[in-house]
Symmetry: C2
Subunit: 543 residues, 2 copies
């Protein structure tokens, strides 16, 4: 806790200050926009960007993670609350905070139970598919705000403003860094300058709205923002604990996954180490903080954290500075925030989310592992077809399904002896000799419930192909573990082989595996013997 503060060095201060300012300027339009995605008033996005990063700074372990509203979590919030309350209603706001509270408690509990390994339930292709599907849903959801009406009805001034901002932002995304470098900025500064384009476009559009009185012409704006810092929010709806529990579990899971995947990337760049259970506690505290300040579920944002990192953040002090600046923005006169045009905020969301439409993993997977590519596409389709929450379930199911599927097809080699040596190799790859009556199989995977049937089937196939077999030697050099299911599988195999007059032998059992087997009765009941090496089994069994 706060170990970054104990080791703080003065030299870290300038980087933290500049990163704190840059991220605050990025956070204002982004926080407001993501609150819109969540179906909440824009100011709630600012509320959710103050207390959460302060609490994360207390408990979290990443030095550069920027905690606050994030597109996918906002989308999940909206989709969880939609059946329970109308967006804009007082109940909706209460439920959003309650959802953050429950998600925070879930995260905190997982952290205290030390079950951070659960994040491994999602493979990267599935995460990529989930992100792509969510990005498309978010863009689709912003079209009415961008165009000032639901298609086919649009509001022309809004369309012009929205599409203009969109074009400007897409140009900035592609070319602004280069332009800034050409006018003399150093590479790092140019990069950061380009990231502030949304703030610039938002401020420009504000000037435009004011000058042309566009709000009077029907362009929707954010509307009056309540001034001052958020008050302490303790409102909950007792009737909604139960219907919010399942969404909170799914959202808590995604909060952790999204935050970790971003933080890992940055930690790798600095050779830092993240403690996943401490991260769970940090994210849990952040979400409880969001709930207490009337916010909604928050997480570490990959894009914002990358800017924080690039702008020189050396510690969580940068986030503390960002949060302080946002607090100042709420306390200072902020009547101008009321006139931010929604079409422009929608454009900033769409451009931010375009970065999530990254197909590079799909391309790699397509060439490297077609099954992973299929899982990616299926998860994206699940999010689009069934919604973002069902998408999480589809993702977990596909990750687990592919795991079980791979596990159920272990590589098993029939071994033969390389003439004149002590070496045994796969007879399909090497010219190695087998001996009559002796069948040697090497299983290249740990034995567990997922492959015990497959191993059995393969053994029966080989026995059918070698009907003269009297001795079956399982070479376990690549078997790192044998679980209880596989132990029973081996016992049944042994009994079945005994009945058929075949002796089962084990060779090259690893130390930790042998330690376990000694706790069972397999070794006492084994029809055959235990050999230290395949060569010793051969010498003993071949006459």
């Amino acid at each position: 806790m706060l170990s970054w503060l104990r080791h703080y060095r003065r030299a870290m201060l300038p980087g933290d200050i500049s990163a704190g300012i840059v991220v605050a300027m990025m956070m204002i339009p982004q926080g407001m926009a993501y609150a819109m995605v969540a179906g909440l008033p824009p100011v709630v996005g600012i509320y959710a960007s103050i207390l959460p990063p302060l609490l994360y700074a207390l408990f979290g372990t990443s030095s550069t993670q920027s905690i606050g509203p994030m597109a996918i979590i906002s989308l999940m919030t909206a989709s969880s609350l939609a059946p329970l309350a109308a967006p804009g209603s007082a109940l909706y706001g209460v439920l959003a905070a309650q959802l953050a509270l429950l998600s925070g408690v879930v995260l905190l509990a997982c952290g205290l139970l030390r079950i951070g390994f659960l994040a491994n339930f999602f493979s990267r292709p599935v995460m990529s598919g989930f992100t792509i599907g969510s990005a498309i849903l978010i863009i689709w959801g912003q079209l009415p705000a961008l165009l000032g009406g639901k298609l086919p009805h649009v509001h022309l001034p809004s369309v012009l403003l929205g599409l203009g901002a969109l074009a400007l932002l897409m140009w900035a995304r592609q070319y602004l860094t280069g332009t800034l470098r050409r006018i003399g900025l150093p590479p790092g500064a140019a990069d950061i300058g380009a990231k502030l384009a949304p703030m610039g476009v938002v401020l420009g559009s504000l000037a435009l709205v004011t000058a042309l009185a566009l709000d009077a012409q029907g362009v929707a704006t954010t509307g009056q923002v309540a001034g001052g810092l958020p008050g302490l929010n303790l409102a909950t709806s007792s009737a909604h604990w139960q219907p919010l529990l399942q969404p909170a579990l799914l959202i808590g899971f995604m909060i952790f996954l999204i935050s970790m995947s971003g933080a890992q990337t940055l930690a790798l760049k600095r050779g830092e180490k993240l403690a996943s259970n401490a991260e769970l506690v940090g994210l849990g505290a952040a979400n409880i903080g969001s709930a207490l300040s009337g916010g909604f579920p928050v997480t570490g944002s990959i894009s914002r954290s990358a800017v924080n990192f690039a702008a020189g953040a050396n510690s969580q002090l940068a986030s503390v500075i960002t949060a302080s600046l946002l607090g100042v923005a709420l306390v200072a006169p902020n009547g101008w925030l009321a006139l931010l045009p929604l079409p422009v905020l929608a454009a900033t969301i769409i451009v931010a989310v375009l970065g999530m439409l990254d197909l590079s993993l799909l391309r790699t997977a397509w060439h490297y592992d077609r099954a992973d590519a299929a899982a990616l596409v299926a998860t994206a389709a699940g999010v689009l077809g069934l919604g973002v929450e069902a998408g999480v379930v589809v993702g977990v199911a596909l990750s687990m399904g592919s795991l079980i599927w791979r596990a159920s097809r272990p590589h098993i080699a029939v071994l033969g002896r390389i003439a004149g040596t002590e070496h045994f190799r796969n007879i399909d790859r090497y010219s190695a000799a087998t001996a009559p009556g002796l069948l040697m199989l090497r299983v290249d995977a740990g034995l567990f419930f997922g492959n015990v049937e497959a191993v059995n089937e393969r053994i029966e196939d080989e026995l059918a192909a070698h009907p003269d077999t009297r001795h079956l030697v399982l070479v376990l050099s690549a078997v790192n573990a044998i679980d209880t299911s596989a132990l029973f599988g081996l016992k049944e195999l042994n009994a079945s082989l005994c009945q058929r007059g075949v002796l089962l032998h084990l060779a090259e059992v690893k130390g930790p595996v042998m330690d376990r087997l000694k706790q069972s009765d397999l070794l006492q009941t084994l029809g055959g013997r235990l050999y230290l090496s395949a060569a010793m089994a051969w010498d003993d069994l071949v006459q």
Copy 2:
């Protein structure tokens, strides 16, 4: 299909006939009792024992599997239908058949899609916990029928009859085989004779009810059984397809799991091979057949199949004979069936289910692998606390959780060279020398999304412990596969190490793994080199 009939030999006939008769005599009380467990009239249990085994004989692959009602599936049927209709109502019967139809379609679809590997989602400890929890629920559910009323209210004549039958059956279960052998029966026949005790007790109780007019004294009996074979049932409730879908998925999964685990045990005894996808088709057809004859979900019964096997069944002809005899029993005068006392049927259920309360796997797992034992207990607790359907979900989650947990803790060894040899070993187990600036790690598991973070963390730990490292060699001799997630993990590791001035080398990459890696750009971007063996890496990198 019907391959057993094409290869039928005359010598198989006597065994099939005797097994067919024995199983039919076992099936009558059991079928009626399990229909009671499912909340259905007892005769429906006979209906569900005729067409299903005939269809399984057409499509299934096990020679000795006995298809029909089974305790756990009946329990799941009752718990699925309870929220939808009142037991005994016409709708309840329609929904039971509809559930069988949907389960059958699910099974058939899985078979045609060839996704039988999904059965591997359940580990054996979890299956054992599920069975134990279900057995306790079934016994608990039969207590009112056994005692003639809900506790604390009991009906004395029923209690006497029920507990008497229970005592007799438990005695028979323990001692009848021995008694029959002492009076001269050969071991096999004595064993089978003992299995017919339930039929004997049921017939005896029938005589008692008739002689003492116990039904007039308030002992509940089966009541009038509609005579004749079941008619073709096409009734379904269109409002219930959707609420029945999820139960049908869970029940279909358990039908397959239960049937396969029984059939596997018997197949191993004969060295037969089961085709899991063909089994799915056989079980799917059987359940659709059950639906068409007004039955309810059915599966292969482990206990009945074992009797079938022991009584000499050589092929599915035994099941065809059983089904024919049950058909005859329905067509013949069967007024006597109306007087079967329910307390006695409840006693037969309880004694049958006691066999499921098998703690041997728990004992083994307790000594062999504490985590597996915990999963067993947690699944049993889940069934008891949350119900049998939620228990399936808990079981899958625990199986997957333990899999991910194990996967997230791969064994990684720091390698050193055994002086004067080309052998490299774990420096914790052998006295092997390391070289300054060179760190060699052997990962003893396939690299995939479940362990990519753990491998990364361990590498960072080792790098922190060896800050002078200039070359990191990953020895991949035990890595059988690298999935897309792990490929990206390696690419990121490589980039991160390059930044820090450490070169990443790979050694002893297996053939199939290398074939894949060549489809990616990892090898081009690798900071270090590729070595055929750990010794070659050492020789090249140590000056």
